[in-house]
Subunit: 769 residues, 2 copies
Amino acid sequence: MNRYIKPDKWNIIEEGFSAENVPSSESIFSIGNGRMGQRANFEEQYSGNTLQGNYIAGVYYPDKTKVGWWKNGYPEYFAKVLNAANWIGINVQVNGEELDLAKIKVADFQRVLNMHEGYLSRSFQATMNNGNEIRVDTRRFLSIVDDNIGAIRYTLIADNFTGTITLTPYLDADVVNEDSNYDEKFWEAISQESAGNNALVLARTKKTGFVVATGMVFELWKNGKLLSVNPINTVKEKYAACEVTIDIAEGDELVIYKFATNVSSFNHPEKELAAVAKSELAKAQNKHFNQLLHEQKDAWAAKWEESDITIDGDVAAQQAIRFNIFQLNQTYTGEDERLNIGPKGFTGEKYGGSTYWDTEAYCLPFYLATADKHVARNLLLYRYKQLGKAIENATKLGFNHGSALFPMVTMNGEECHNEWEITFEEIHRNGAIAFAVYNYVNYTGDEDYLKDFGLELLIGISRFWSQRITWSDRLNKFVMLGVTGPNEYENNVDNNWYTNKLACWCLDYTREVIDRVKTANPNKYLALSAKIGFNENEETKRWNEITQNMHFPESKELGVFLQQDNYLNKEQILVKDLDPKHRPINQKWSWDRILRSCFIKQADTLQGIYLFEDKFDIDTIERNFDFYESRTLHESSLSPCVHSILAAKLNKMEKAYELYLRTSRLDLDDYNCEVGEGLHITSMAGTWMSVVHGFGGFRVFNGKIHLNPRTPKDWDSFSFKIRFRGSVLKINAFKERVEVQNFSDIQVPLIIFGKEYLIDSNDKILINN
Amino acid sequence: MNRYIKPDKWNIIEEGFSAENVPSSESIFSIGNGRMGQRANFEEQYSGNTLQGNYIAGVYYPDKTKVGWWKNGYPEYFAKVLNAANWIGINVQVNGEELDLAKIKVADFQRVLNMHEGYLSRSFQATMNNGNEIRVDTRRFLSIVDDNIGAIRYTLIADNFTGTITLTPYLDADVVNEDSNYDEKFWEAISQESAGNNALVLARTKKTGFVVATGMVFELWKNGKLLSVNPINTVKEKYAACEVTIDIAEGDELVIYKFATNVSSFNHPEKELAAVAKSELAKAQNKHFNQLLHEQKDAWAAKWEESDITIDGDVAAQQAIRFNIFQLNQTYTGEDERLNIGPKGFTGEKYGGSTYWDTEAYCLPFYLATADKHVARNLLLYRYKQLGKAIENATKLGFNHGSALFPMVTMNGEECHNEWEITFEEIHRNGAIAFAVYNYVNYTGDEDYLKDFGLELLIGISRFWSQRITWSDRLNKFVMLGVTGPNEYENNVDNNWYTNKLACWCLDYTREVIDRVKTANPNKYLALSAKIGFNENEETKRWNEITQNMHFPESKELGVFLQQDNYLNKEQILVKDLDPKHRPINQKWSWDRILRSCFIKQADTLQGIYLFEDKFDIDTIERNFDFYESRTLHESSLSPCVHSILAAKLNKMEKAYELYLRTSRLDLDDYNCEVGEGLHITSMAGTWMSVVHGFGGFRVFNGKIHLNPRTPKDWDSFSFKIRFRGSVLKINAFKERVEVQNFSDIQVPLIIFGKEYLIDSNDKILINN
């Protein structure tokens, strides 16, 4: 835990310079626009501890895996999120001395991430070792309107001296990746040029051959007047710079505007990249800083209009939820179905890959409710397009007949993870991907998706389950052996309740979808069956046998489902009885000790209950919640949100609120002491769920919205917006009433506190608790 | 499987040159003397596929571990067996053309490992590309009398040409390790010199700083006369050579004798190494080749006198058992308690480390029965001296109060393995180390070992079990969760029957030893208790509770013990019903598929039954044997021997014989297609056990020898020798009788086929079946 962010409704604020907090703030104050992202590294040189990061969506490097003992089936490579060319750099020399916050005296340091308008600003007063005092004020953003463009305004005021200031805006693709298995650099030079106020560097990733053109153009203004300068242009491999030295008198104000672009072969033919970069730069310079920023504000206002959540009476909670929503919107816009939502987004390198089950299990509900339908649909299509590779992957592991196993971690559909207990056994991910199809169709009503894409994917996954599940003579039941559930503090267990549940649900749902598609589109169904050699009678017969005779571990005595067959054989200790000095156990304990203990990283049984909550009575939910929450350490960022949602449902409001703070301020307050590595982007969607599904009690069953808002004690009220099948609703929840506004031209039926209502177009209703 | 070794009772013979078999033969024809070992690499250059290897006992390199995802508790390094300086090299040029068997025509190639006399010879006829024909005949050995010395006689005959032959004997420490995690070289130069007929290279291992001095001196003889030559002496970093060019007429015979030495800082002060090396070389040259070889033959004759096993009527079986015994005696002599028996001995690099549980579980019985008591005692002392590090290791994993966990793989007592399911969970090794103490004392009657060393080690291990075992409320029993048994085809299971059995046995045995030491040496016991803070009452009370209430999984219905709690939940398929195209599954199947299957690498339940066979009736043993043998793939080299022993006990002689061939000819016939990586040295001791314990039915219970010889159908008879408490017995087993000869001056009581006999000193008895 490290709390230094100042509370504010719309801004993330750091005051005072602390070298220790630099890596953390670099993550927290990251900016991004879905196409690229930039950690809050300083423009000027910084020789202190820092993680430099500029990331370009879709551009990755297949690093050789590092593995102690090879196991059959391991992937050949691990896709790395790539630190790309530094485009923000502006070296500053004051009378020949380098401005470097690690080496001089800094005062009045302030950093602000303006979430409402979508920019990062920073200001400080510096006393150089030569005694010169300057004030610096910077502002930068990555445009979400022109998503190839970044813009910087960097202002210096000479407070107490006369002399020179040398500014060197530069581009540098000779960067390192912290997350590199063999300490290699991942970029090779193509070309670098610097002329006048312009520079351009083209570099190519090794192996994958992605080319990124990074360009810049700058302007220098002194005391409000544009200077005509004659820079010294320098290039070296992967580097290009323009150096300008300006005479300065005391009180002079110098402003450098740096416009930059990153364009990649992911989106443009390689040979056009230099031209595209130059034209993007011309556009940026033409619009100039203020117009670009103005457009940025408008675009962000529109995003907030769709996705804002307000919380009254609790600034920390308000700031946190907006921070989560802001970062989600910076990471993924849904405009490109080749992209996905990496666990650290554009804020760090750790974990590699861009796609985990987090996308389907945590992120999808956020985009379903706050963005146009095509955004969620693109997330689904991303997986559908990788179905072939999922089938290849399953084949490699010994499955056949079109069985599909989607990867644990991937960039392009190929598995990238190499720990057997995860790569081969954390197969619940397949269930999350199937559930996302259900979730999407249930929410949007887009039945066509099933016949065009959904059913084929569901059959591939069901075929996998059908082969992965085996018959146990001893138990006289079907079983699923050797799996790892979302609770990764148990590995290679038999009959993980959550995975079994999800697998059986998937088999049933696939049969249901078969019937629906067959009825609505018999020809389409026949064509699909022929394409994938589907023998409906025979295959679904086994699916049915499985779901009718599946083994689900439970304790009748305790009235709880068991997360795996042998869980109760463990010594049962509650978190409250664990000496805090042992926490987090993933840092304090050896791995075997964690595995043997009853302690839970995230309670997958509760996750299953959350997914299928309509199948369980409230007492069952409560017994399981009490049992598992008391054993759960929440050492996964994905854990507290689900517990918070169930706690709210069970009206355990203090617990729900405690867990909400934990998920929503995980990064702002650095609960796990590792925010410097990057933000937990995907768990931010879980935070959103904990407000909307948790406190809001929002659900969609059978095409209808359900609401059961409950306002935490510390809040006066909260509100959120929901897009649903052409309508836009705003829910204002107060302690004793709830108000629902319909901003659309259609009538919306919905169920509030169990009672059915109909809200007229552009009308609102008010219900007392 | 690759069968090309010619059957012979005393020799290993390869005929005809095959480049494909070079790596395999390099392993099979390896020579060693306990202090060092040398693969059967060619003296002359060879540009084909080869694994060059010269290994020096005790000299290792701590390579950085390579691991995909770090787990708490992993070791920092992995100790590598080191390829050291090449001391055998003699480059040969015939009229300027390099002799390289990969590049010329080879005829009449023969390689012979003379096991009776302890040397390797090789001969061939070569037609150079220039048309010159030569015959080559080489012989070399590593002296077991002067264990710093190696000697080579290399003979060339010019068959059809006149001209020159250039010979370049050299030393080269600029070698690579195939088993290197980061492709680094492990040696750095200290010095190299070459003068006259002598050369000396000193090199130091990185990090560990071992220094090895490798020296050579050579002589050149032409047609029986010593030549006075004036070599061209060359040195470069880590390399020294002497080049001599000799005029040759058709029919001339040229002989080069190369005497070499390897001496290391493991045995001598670093600053004396050069002098030691030179004095060793002088001694070697003085004795010269024939005397050294003569001494070698005598010394090997003495070893065979002690450890030979004869098998009449089955040459393949006879050759195999001698090969196993020969390699064991080449690997470990028992003279240095800092050394141990690496799984590949001096024949390859794979697996690293020098010490596995193989030593205690497989090798100890061989050395107990065929060598002086101090040899087995040194193997035990090796572990005792590492007790402190075993306690450190357990502490690192969260155990306390002097709990000891010995490493899975080690050089110096520190754990070197880094797979959580093995490093942290394959803890049965602790049991094997405790059992070795019992085994040694039971065999030798050396009770003093207990008070001086054994008890302290036993208490450390028992303290570990006591903490590792936990109470299960659900089962109302003590349990051991999250372990991996010797059957590594199941990982992280609960209640591995073998490990539970061994742990409980250890707790009981430790209590028994406490009583014995306390009675015999009360002061010694008090001193030890004080030293290690042993609270006998409290600690042994829990041990007793555990052993009285331990959970052992079993199937009452099938009448078998279960190798782990959930084993029967697996789909039960027999090996005979597995399509052979899937074997070996460790090469054909992904790891998860192996783990989920019921197939067994080595049946640890049977291993447990073998250790404690006097605790089970014969029907129980047979039921378990039939159950597990039919599910066991024997994909561990350590597997078939135990099954063979039990099969012999159960009078399943065909099965016993089949498994004997598998264990004894594992390397000679390359069952697993990987002998090129090195020999399976430790499993060779298992082969010895399968004859002596298996067919011989040899056991020691309560200080008395038991024999139940059974001769396989294919054998006329077999014999083996046993040292036992001052006596030496030879057992000759025939189909219908057994003859036991007592070569000692003491009477020996023993039990044959269940009946008690007493053999007088230097007498023999003959018993009919």
